[in-house]
């Protein structure tokens, strides 16, 4: 490469128990460029970044930073070398002020005391550099997610950072906020900073990046200049040959006279979502499409009683039900795999067996325990059926990979033999193989007469599997189309403009 590289990573290898997370990956970053790091979930993007920030330690390979070899041992270490990271989740203290958040841990001192005046002026200067005129003495949680994100970027660049890593910073931002962020990124780039940008939004890559590097299953696919690649090429390279597995999946058949399994009328919880009207047949797979925060999860939570409904009615298998809490839903044979697997799904320290038996046990009540023999049978059955990769059923679920954890949660619900299974982003953050398997399972269950609600941010996945697709925007249902013959463009149009009567014809 003719130009001077700020950062050179060569032959990076990282071995995790059972998998090679990175295999001889090269990556370079120039000063004054925005470089996208792309790949499917589990491709190794975060691993590569974490290796740079000292969270993971390389088994092989070298990192040259400014021509010198470095080996960061911890995020603090990397930070002090000039490598700053902004993570997807905001790592700030919501109850501290904006200024305190920016300077926490490195407050300017005067006579052995914290110089508050200095902190506040400097924070104000820093924020105005990002064209943000906000009161830095107010607590952070007074501000929107976007501003909080800006604050974490401000914190990251205030030290003499040469490399800034942005790990999916835009996933919780709206369009205007994204624009604001891009302006800041361009300014930082003009100042000579090298920016690594991880995102799932391909449009954003083309909008702001100079080069991009694609990873797949822990290996390097290649590094390209943005002018020399099309979106289609990009997607093909990201997904690779595994596409076949998914493309061979077939939508479930729903008989025309299949009975109605779920009906909601004006179901709602003020402040969350209101006027949810859905009708789902037995064995039907309904996809929920829409952007993050469009109300997909809220709808699912409402149906399942994770958030109690304050108004409207819910009918399951022809019977009106009152669902005030999850156990009511479980008793009505509903099941719900939540979006945030770590927070709402797994019981980390319990074994696979205990995790699988949990919902069934909850339905029975603790005074009617599932015998050890039954539990073992359940565990064995689902480990085999879902090909969960584990040496035995007594392994803690927290020690499994994301995809396998997801399968265990799925098993937990399959064990309750539900009539309706709600899956909220079941394929997020898991590798492509597990993804294909989960989609296959979903469709098989439909074939056996289970109704499924499938929430996903990936439109192609929704279109591939769904019989019907409900499109949501701003916490409202804005359209409903048949899965058959639907294209991404149709869905995008509905998401953007709502459904016109002739659009579905």
């Amino acid at each position: 490469m003719p130009e001077h590289s700020l950062l050179e990573m060569k032959g990076i290898e990282i071995q995790f128990p059972g998998v090679k997370a990175l295999d001889k990956v090269d990556f370079s970053l120039r000063a004054g460029e925005i470089h996208a790091l792309l790949g499917e979930n589990g491709a190794g993007k975060s691993t590569l970044v974490k290796c740079l920030t000292g969270v993971h330690h390389m088994d092989a390979g070298t990192i040259l930073f400014d021509g010198k070899e470095i080996r960061p041992t911890s995020p603090q270490d990397a930070f002090s070398m000039g490598i700053s990271t902004v993570y997807q989740e905001i790592n700030l203290c919501p109850n501290l002020t904006v200024a305190e958040n920016i300077f926490v841990g490195r407050q300017p001192m005067k006579h052995g005391m914290i110089n508050w005046k200095d902190i506040n002026t400097r924070a104000r200067e820093l924020m105005s550099r990002f064209h943000m005129d906000i009161d830095v003495t107010r607590p952070l949680n007074n501000y929107s997610t976007a501003i909080q994100q800006m604050v974490s970027i401000a914190r990251a660049v205030d030290i003499d950072a040469k490399v800034l890593i942005l790990d999916e910073p835009t996933s919780s931002l709206d369009d205007n906020e994204v624009k604001l962020l891009f302006n800041v990124m361009n300014e930082l780039k003009a100042e000579g900073m090298g920016i690594i940008f991880i995102t799932h939004f391909l449009d954003q890559v083309f909008a702001v990046c100079d080069r991009l590097t694609i990873l797949r299953n822990g290996t390097l696919v290649g590094t390209f200049d943005i002018e020399n690649i099309t979106k289609l090429e990009l997607v093909t390279m990201m997904i690779g040959r595994d596409m076949d597995v998914i493309f061979n999946l077939k939508r479930a058949e729903v008989a025309a006279d299949a009975p109605e399994m779920l009906r909601t009328e004006n179901l709602g919880a003020p402040g969350q979502i209101q006027n949810v009207n859905l009708s789902l047949k037995k064995g039907e797979l309904m996809g929920f499409a829409g952007l993050l925060g469009s109300g997909r999860t809220e709808t699912a939570e409402l149906i399942f009683g994770a958030v109690p409904a304050a108004e409207g009615t819910e009918t399951v298998n022809g019977r009106k039900v009152t669902i005030g809490k999850p156990i009511d839903a479980i008793n009505a044979k509903l099941a719900f795999c939540p979006e945030d697997r770590k927070r709402d799904g797994i019981i980390g320290d319990l074994s696979i067996r205990e995790n699988i038996a949990l919902a069934l046990q909850a339905r029975r009540g603790f005074m009617h325990p599932i015998s050890m023999q039954e539990q073992n049978e359940l565990a064995e059955k689902y480990i085999k059926l879902l090909s969960i990769a584990t040496p035995n059923a007594e392994k803690k679920i927290g020690e499994l990979s994301g995809g396998n954890q997801q399968k265990v949660i799925l098993a937990r619900w399959m064990a309750t033999q539900p009539d309706l299974l709600i899956l909220d982003e079941p394929t997020r953050g898991i590798d492509i193989g597990a993804k294909a398997e989960i989609q296959r399972l979903m469709l098989e269950m439909c074939g056996e007469g289970v109704s499924v609600i499938f929430i996903s941010s990936e439109l192609d996945e929704i279109i591939r599997c769904s019989n019907r697709i409900v499109v949501m925007r701003d916490r409202k249902k804005v359209g409903e189309v048949n899965g058959e013959g639907c294209t991404q463009q149709t869905l995008l149009n509905i998401i953007a403009n709502g459904q016109q009567e002739d659009a579905t014809a």
Partner: protein, 356 residues
């Protein structure tokens, strides 16, 4: 007793092992200094066995009983500070009913004890209600357990004072004496009661799915709720159970001295119970718990105290001495030490394999 409990729940095996090792080490030191530490004599007059070991089991009974509940509280990620005050309250209630005459007629005379069973049942019932109050504040009002139980910790002794009009009673009523001073199968009654409690709680927790649900809520409340577990109910039951067990401990304490003393009964019991749980290998952050470990923890605490008394160490030093040994036990159990030990164990095994 120890052995039996280890088999009752095999969880946290390694931590229990280290607690047992610590206990054995302390006993070994006792033995080396005075070989008669282990002697156990039978006294025909009372039909009971006597000796330091018996004394350790006897005197640890209250903490063992309370800490069965405390284990579950801690497994839920909480703490219960009110147990000591409930011990005092339970004792006060029992003595109030034993000395109804003095209270009502203000004339000491022959005791007019209501049906004796009331003397037992009322303290148990009242304390259980108090526990439900704790559970209510935590699960419905959303208070942190440490704060919610702090309320009762502070005012529980006050209530106990009110119950007895601030008076201290003594009684000679012999059926009541049995609880703390009687014997059964050559063992002091408190030992028998604690064995029954440990067995009952273990069976309840491990033979039903209650234990798993407690762990589940302690590890991840949100995921547990979405899996259909009614965590509020679990919390109510656990705090009520702990209060109930504290009441039992209170009856034993009161029966030992045949009196009530709202200012001194159960002092520091909450700390000893928490300590027993922690020594037993249950993490204060909640999650997996071990009742067997807790039993050993309770015995270790009592062994230390007995050791101090037995060897005539000045009583002012008891606390410091206790702290010292507990630090050693906790360090022995800590993650790094256990890892190193198990590594050393593996190496030795490898060496052995070569010889074989």
């Amino acid at each position: 007793m120890k052995k039996k409990n280890v088999s009752l729940s095999g969880i946290m095996q390694s931590k229990i092992t280290w607690a047992v090792v610590a206990e054995l080490l302390i006993l070994l030191v006792c033995f080396l200094i005075r070989p008669d530490f282990f002697s156990i004599k039978y006294q025909p007059a009372t039909g009971m066995l006597y000796g330091s070991l018996i004394d350790i089991l006897n005197r640890s009974a209250e903490i063992t009983i309370i800490s069965m509940g405390m284990t579950l509280v801690i497994a839920l990620g909480g703490t219960d500070l009110s147990v000591g005050s409930l011990v005092a309250l339970s004792g006060a209630l029992a003595l109030k009913f034993l000395r109804w005459d003095v209270l009502i007629y203000n004339t000491p005379g022959d005791y007019t004890v209501k049906p004796f069973i009331l003397v037992i049942l009322v303290p148990l019932a009242v304390c259980t209600l108090m526990g439900l109050f704790n559970g209510f504040m935590i699960s419905r009002i959303g208070m942190q357990p440490i704060i919610a139980t702090l309320i009762l910790m502070v005012c529980g002794r006050g209530i106990a004072q009110i119950v007895t009009n601030g008076k201290q009673f003594t009684t000679l009523y012999s059926p009541f004496r049995v609880i703390g001073q009687g014997s059964f199968l050559f063992l002091p009654m408190p030992v028998i009661i604690s064995i029954i409690v440990v067995a009952a709680v273990s069976i309840f927790v491990r033979k039903t799915a209650f234990g798993t649900m407690v762990e589940s809520v302690g590890i991840n409340p949100s995921a547990s709720r979405l899996s259909g577990i009614d965590s509020r109910r679990i919390i109510m039951i656990v705090f009520a159970l702990t209060a109930f067990l504290s009441a039992i401990a209170g009856l034993i304490t009161a029966s030992r001295v045949m009196s009530n003393d709202s200012n001194n009964f159960g002092i520091n019991f909450e700390m000893d119970a928490i300590l027993a749980v922690v020594i037993g290998g249950t993490n204060m952050a909640g999650g997996k718990f071990s009742l067997a470990g807790t039993v050993i923890g309770s015995i270790i605490i009592r062994t230390i105290v007995t050791f101090v008394y037995y060897f005539g160490i000045v009583s002012e030093a008891t606390m410091a001495f206790k702290a010292l040994i507990i630090i050693v036990v906790i360090v022995l159990q800590s993650e790094p030490v256990r890892k190193r030990m198990s590594k050393m164990g593996k190496k030795r095994m490898k060496g052995g394999a070569v010889h074989a």
